[in-house]
């Protein structure tokens, strides 16, 4: 165990610099929630004023249009909130030529729960903010799924009308994709990635804070759409034009929220790229990086290249709906020459790579866990890294497989089928390498490992149905059916979510300094595993039998299976409460975690749990690979003795027993 493990935890030290709490009107002048509320108010007022002025200038009647005010406010008011909260303070001081506050690290570390509700530049605090916020939206999205399954338990309409139902599945998918899976991976990586490469923080801490605070803006906006006149956005998470461009104003809550979530993704990805490229500890060559770092490097490449495309597609929708552009307007009545298929091409050019944005970080998590818990080096480390890069490249060549029945030119389907099937090759390399890592290992079957193994088998099923879906003639029949719903849930629930659970359990001791309840963890795994399969496996069948997706009502012949699916899904929902209970109680009063409870070699385990505010009191030097388990005397990183250290502080092997 390294000497740094004895460093005081942030919770037991006091903040280096605590400004006296503001009171009275002063509260509206310092960065914080009071000023954020004021900023939001002023933002809305400014947007209403701007809107009324422009309409006056153009002579529009009526001068006040609720629809226009909503759209402009959704775009503008969040900036008032973010400025009020203090996300831009440093840059504004600098731009105005005023003395920017010297970096006193007062916004680093968290010393009370309140620090998690401030603009904080500590990557560990931001990581925790990300994970907790995303899990809030996970539970909201899950509750929405429960409402949908209640409606679908029987044919006919019982609980909600079809308008609300269309809103429910649209918000469900949007929240869980844009506010849960993508950001929760970014959050976990935010916490552990700088530690893993031996960096004191991310490359751009202020940008990192801004990236986080864009998220709640996007999430709250999507949820608020339920209060919008005309109901929530109801054209699916795909928001296909021209349905999306002709919807009530609730649609704009999606269109604009995606811009905020997307900007957050892009900024974080840039941050990861620069951090990984420039801030690795001495000796940490690319080929000594843990696979989680490789996975986030690959994911970030995907994000910076692909995410601008969804931003563009949603700006097109915004312009079509708000300002009467005709990008996608090809309705018979309008005589416009818009191109409806263009939306789908631009959208899927992001949204197919997005599937890998939602999976590659999970591959990284599972690689960490399987190596540590099987006590063996990752089998074929270099191929594991290369296959990630292969998926990045191939991921950009398959988007039109979502459009096999869209009416695009027929010949393009065949090359897209081939590239789609070929992606199974690098993915297969990963799965086989994990299996070979298990072979002859010493398997510690605790909660993180169970979720990793559950991921291996369930993701294989999702991959198999994915290969089936590459085959054009079969897809012509099953596209837009429950077979697709089954496939994406095997990939995103059995795949991504299982790796997220695995990762949260695995790094819980590092993030909170506490151990979780292993028995509850195991119960959580088994209930989730069983009810996940009972919920989603039958969807393959009813899909092939002919049940379309995104319907509130369905033919009598599917009634039996749907009832069974709904019952299973309620138990699946309940199983996540075990997780919630375990995490909350363990965080509050679980046993203290040791620095390295899993005997892992990677650097994040060589510092205390939770880590010191600046991660490493002494910069580590990396001298070997990250997964040298079973190699006698192998070392990944060492902490060189400090100048003032006494003679006994020899270079120490990190992660020794």
């Amino acid at each position: 165990m390294s000497a740094t493990a004895t460093s005081p935890t942030p919770h037991t030290t006091t903040a280096p610099h605590t400004p006296p709490p503001a009171s009275g009107l002063q509260r509206f002048r310092v960065a914080g929630w009071y000023r954020a509320a004021l900023g939001l108010f002023l933002g809305v007022a400014f947007c209403i004023g701007l809107d009324v002025l422009v309409r006056l200038a153009y002579g529009d009647h009526p001068v006040y249009s609720g629809d226009a005010v909503w759209m402009v406010s959704l775009l503008g008011a969040p900036f008032g909130f973010l400025i009020g909260l203090g996300c831009f303070d440093y840059w504004f001081y600098w731009a105005a030529g005023r003395p920017s506050r010297p970096e006193d690290h007062s916004s680093h570390g968290a010393y009370s729960w309140k620090d998690y509700f401030r603009v904080n530049t500590d990557h560990k605090v931001i990581g925790t903010q990300y994970v907790v916020t995303s899990f809030f939206f996970f539970f909201v999205g899950g509750l929405i799924a429960m409402l949908m399954r209640a409606e679908l338990a029987q044919p006919g309409l019982q609980f909600v009308d079809s308008s609300t139902f269309n809103g429910l599945f649209s918000v469900h998918a949007s929240l869980l994709i844009f506010l849960f899976i993508i950001p929760v991976f970014a959050g976990l990586a935010n916490f552990v990635l700088p530690l893993m490469i031996g960096a004191p923080d991310m490359a751009f801490p202020r940008l990192n804070a801004l990236s986080f605070w864009l998220l709640p803006v996007a999430g709250v906006m999507m949820l608020l759409s339920f209060l919008a006149p005309g109901g929530p956005f109801a054209s699916g998470w795909t928001a296909y034009a021209p349905l999306s461009t002709t919807q009530p104003v609730g649609q704009m809550f999606f269109t604009i929220a995606v811009q905020f979530a997307g900007a957050s993704s892009i900024a974080t990805a840039l941050n990861f790229l620069v951090t990984i490229i420039t801030m690795r500890a001495p000796g940490m060559s690319f080929w000594r990086m843990p696979l989680l770092v490789w996975a986030n490097f690959s994911t970030s490449l995907l994000v910076v290249i692909a995410t601008p495309f969804i931003a563009a597609s949603q700006f097109f929708v915004l312009l079509d709906r708000g300002l009467g552009f005709h990008f996608f307007d090809s309705a018979v009545a309008s005589h416009a020459n818009g191109d409806v298929l263009m939306y789908q091409h631009v959208f899927w050019f992001y949204s197919h790579p997005a599937v890998y944005i939602m999976m590659l970080p999970g591959f990284g998590i599972v690689s960490e866990i399987i190596a540590v818990k099987a006590r063996k080096p990752i089998f074929g480390y270099r191929m594991m890294a290369f296959s990630l890069l292969a998926i990045v490249v191939l991921g950009f060549t398959v988007w039109a497989h979502h459009m096999f029945v869209s009416g695009m030119q027929g010949w393009i389907r065949v090359p897209m089928m081939i590239t789609t099937a070929i992606i199974a090759v690098p993915t297969g390399i990963k799965i086989f390498s994990w299996l070979a890592t298990l072979w002859k290992g010493v398997l510690h079957l605790d909660t993180p490992m169970l979720f990793a193994l559950g991921f291996l088998t369930m993701f294989t099923l999702g991959g198999i149905s994915g290969v089936m879906l590459a085959m054009i003639p079969f897809t012509i029949h099953v596209s837009d059916t429950y077979f697709i719903v089954a496939h994406i849930h095997y990939v995103l629930f059995g795949g991504s979510l299982f790796t997220i659970f695995a990762g949260v359990y695995y790094w819980f001791p590092k993030m909170t300094g506490r151990m979780f309840d292993e028995r509850l963890g195991k119960i959580h795994f088994w209930t989730t595993f069983v009810f996940f399969n009972l919920t989603f496996a039958p969807m393959h069948l009813i899909g092939i039998e002919g049940m379309p997706r995104r319907v509130a009502d369905y033919a009598q012949q599917f009634a039996g299976w749907n009832l069974a699916i709904s019952i299973a899904s309620f138990f699946l929902g309940l199983s996540s409460l075990i997780f919630l209970w375990n995490i909350v109680t363990s965080w509050r009063g679980g046993p203290r975690a040791a620095a390295n409870p899993w005997r892992a070699l990677t650097l994040e385990w060589q510092v205390s749990s939770p880590p010191p505010v600046f991660n490493f009191d002494r910069v580590p030097t990396v001298v070997g690979g990250p997964y040298e388990y079973g190699v006698p005397g192998a070392v990944h990183g060492i902490f060189k003795p400090a100048e003032t250290a006494t003679a006994e502080a020899r270079p120490q092997p990190a992660g020794g027993h």
Binding site: A374, G380, V414
Partner: protein
Amino acid sequence: MSAESRRESGGRQDYLRVAVVIVLASLVTIPIALLIHWFPTQASVESRKIDTLYDVLLIFSVPMFWLVATTVLFSVWRWRMRPGEEELDGPPIHGNTRLEVVWTAFPAVMMVGLCTYAFVTLHSIEKTHRHMTVEVMAQQFAFRYTYPDGPGGKPFSTNDLYVPTGEQVEFKVHAKDVLHDFWVPAFRLKTDAVPGITTAIKVTPSRVGTYAVVCAELCGLGHALMRSTVHVVPPEQFKTWLAKQKTTGA
């Protein structure tokens, strides 16, 4: 498990055990998978070919699943940590180039094979024969059908879709407002109805009966209720039906 037997495990005998389980499990589950009544009625020539493609995919998929599941379960059974092994590490195996080449090449060959077969199937179901044409107009939330060659050679429109068996029918699909999708599950074929362009599918109905037409692309409030029916009738009956229709103009 003693350290000795751990060292000796994972050899030829264990490979053989895993292989036997994969083969046995596949032999049991492939017939079950094929016996499951997956598809709705086969009512077109194309549906038979698509169902066969799915059967072939199942035959390839099931062993792939058992390969992964068996290896995971076998490793758990054979090499899980036993009491007293808390500090033990596995053997430092970093890779095996031959094995990695095999598991890169084998799936690649399999994928190329499956794609070739799928391409052949696609080619055969989309081949054009002598055919009649039906225009489909999709709008929120109904389908309307136009026969260009009604009685007297004039087009007429109807809400009832009738097609004869044994003759290829080309459905030319249009959309008036937003995206829809013209899908007949019993034919296994669908295409989006896209404003501004005409899309098409070609079907050769083969079985007399009445089947559902389903809108399969989210099109708004009434999407779940946007349904129609297709009546597949013998050719003579189709001629009689056609003759009875009043010409309504295009």
